[in-house]
Symmetry: C3
Subunit: 270 residues, 3 copies
């Protein structure tokens, strides 16, 4: 499974982002760091052309508003039309009715390959009760395997729920990853960047599938690679418990220097 990181660097998938203005630079840089090609667009006009040449599409609602809804829906539907993997990050979906309505419209119109959020966001989307504050609430003190399976089955998507333990499920299997550091919550954008990493791996995975090459990794594992890369990179970046300015720099360094050996050595599944 770890070898997919080499395929990303080889295939150099084009990861098209429809994302927020807060972390857009970080998302572009982390995509480059892993070896993929980022492309950021806010243009309704180029959706058809650009989705058709992308290898994956990441939709992130961080600074959504009604003028973006049509763009995001059109991008997602076009991704479905061209059979491109499409990922949703419903940032802060539980924070306002506006965000949950926006997310519902996206979920109703688009078939997402992956829906990624923190555990509060995933629970909310699954119709479970959450108490949230801002866009980064967590509820980490219980096993959420059944929750993510249920939401995965409900949406027909692979679900990624991040937290102290990260859960990735397709409704049948659950991968649980225990890497990471609390400091990933002390800088903005690590959640969004995880979406970019998932997009990069899925873009490579999809290219392999279409090339009829023999593949020894499942789609669920390809998604988990994105989460794992962020977790291990964060962990390695925080070895000396550095302050957040330096942590952000080292996080990027560690994604850039991530490889099969490090993933093998440091990955901690449960």
């Amino acid at each position: 499974m770890y070898e997919l990181i080499n395929k990303v660097k080889e295939i150099n998938p084009l990861v098209l982002h429809y994302t927020n203005e807060v972390t857009i630079n970080d998302c572009a840089n982390v995509t480059l760091a892993l070896g993929a090609s980022p492309l950021m667009s806010y243009s309704d006009e180029e959706v058809q052309e650009i989705v058709s040449v992308a290898n994956s599409i990441v939709i992130n609602i961080g600074t959504m508003n009604s003028s973006r809804l049509n763009l995001f829906v059109e991008a997602g539907k076009t991704a479905n039309k061209f059979n491109k993997p499409v990922i949703l990050d419903p940032v802060g979906v539980f924070a306002t009715k506006t965000r949950s309505d926006f997310t519902n419209k996206l979920l109703n119109e688009i078939k997402f390959d992956v829906v990624k959020g923190n555990i509060s966001e995933i629970k909310f989307i699954g119709g479970l009760d959450v108490r949230g504050k801002g866009v980064d609430s967590f509820d980490d003190n219980e096993d959420n395997s059944e929750v993510v399976k249920r939401v995965a089955n409900k949406l027909g998507s692979i679900i990624v729920a991040t937290g102290k333990v990260d859960y990735i499920s397709d409704g049948e299997s659950v991968i649980k990853i225990k890497n990471g550091t609390v400091k990933l919550k002390s800088i903005t954008g690590t959640g969004c960047m995880t979406g970019s990493l998932i997009g990069s791996y899925l873009g490579a995975y999809d290219t392999l599938v279409n090339s009829k090459e023999e593949i020894t990794i499942s789609k669920l594992e390809a998604v988990a690679m994105g989460v794992l890369t962020m977790g291990v990179s964060g962990e390695l970046a925080d070895i000396n418990n550095i302050a957040i300015g330096s942590f952000k720099e080292k996080l990027m360094n560690n994604v850039y220097e991530m490889n099969v050996d490090k993933l093998k050595e440091y990955a901690r599944f449960e």
Copy 2:
């Protein structure tokens, strides 16, 4: 007064930003660095909901245009309705008539708790003559105590005027802070980030006031804490006169590591 920094980390106030696209990432990170929670929004639709749960609101006109005016006015009026502290940063107000008209509309419709700018911006808002270039003009070679008092009384807001010496006034008292480094003008966003820090402290302060806890700090001091945190952090970051890429990283580190003892040791009031 310095203990308010611990309250920020404890209360973790939600600081809602309506801000520019240039420094939006820096503002989110500095808010996190201090221990508060940033939320950035460009959505007209969620103003009511989101202002009602925020602890403070920061409005920054850096890349304002007419399509943002209604959003900003609505956000500010909603802040007033819910009695949430609201801060204005009129970036470059003297640079164009468009910016001054925009600022006037905001000042007419909204009662701001704080108006923060560099001394040129504050003078301009106060109806005094300024000569400015771009968005960062300074006029530092005189005592501006009377200026900020006058503008504070005129607007009925706490005024923060940054420069070689920073002035904070509620129209009666003036706090003068001499911390900082010229290098704070060599990276973009330090002014905007000061607004985020003020928002973080005021969000904590307002929570304390509403909780009827005994408070040993005035609102003016709470605002000054934001200015002081930036000044001391900048000063400590620049001890070895490093270049600006490293300075930006160290500035974030220093905000993250700021505490009561450091503030006590390094604060220089006049």
Copy 3:
């Protein structure tokens, strides 16, 4: 020619950017690092006022869409009206028909002093065949002197084509710069930042021309200074082949610390 860097720090030209949301912060910081003043605007309302006081205007289509077209056209035409140097960066022009239409409209309505892109973008604009992927395709294994001369003559602009070798041509002469590092392609924004550096140098150059001071540098060389500053800074930043988080920081440091002596020592022309 190298002394122009001192003039930038002395004159402190105001470089007005109409640019994308991905790298807008980097563009502001690199402009400050060199010693110029950045101003970013998305406001139709202030175009006339703000262009009239700017020393140069940079237009970058990275996240263009139809709502930006009028703003960009108006800004460019106003620059022409006031005889201000104006630079176009047609990011990813070959990636979609939308981008090439957008670029054509800009080229038809505005007389650009400089059009800067990677070699694929420049070839595309010149009507030559390119195969591109995303916004960063390169074709470096041939001498492109004739290409840039031809495109310069076709557009009546100075052409900058970046790649393993950078070409700068006014249609007669060609300056070829061999500085740089492949790592400049591993972080986002180095192309956009090169546009900001060109804008800074051209802003200073234009001020000198208008001041009737004796000038010992040509406009072509002033443009080349922007490309050279990025190339040498990148090269120096990458001496120890560091990872990209650190590289970005060191790149900014090196622009900030660039001076006549370093340019003399490290510049490699062909």
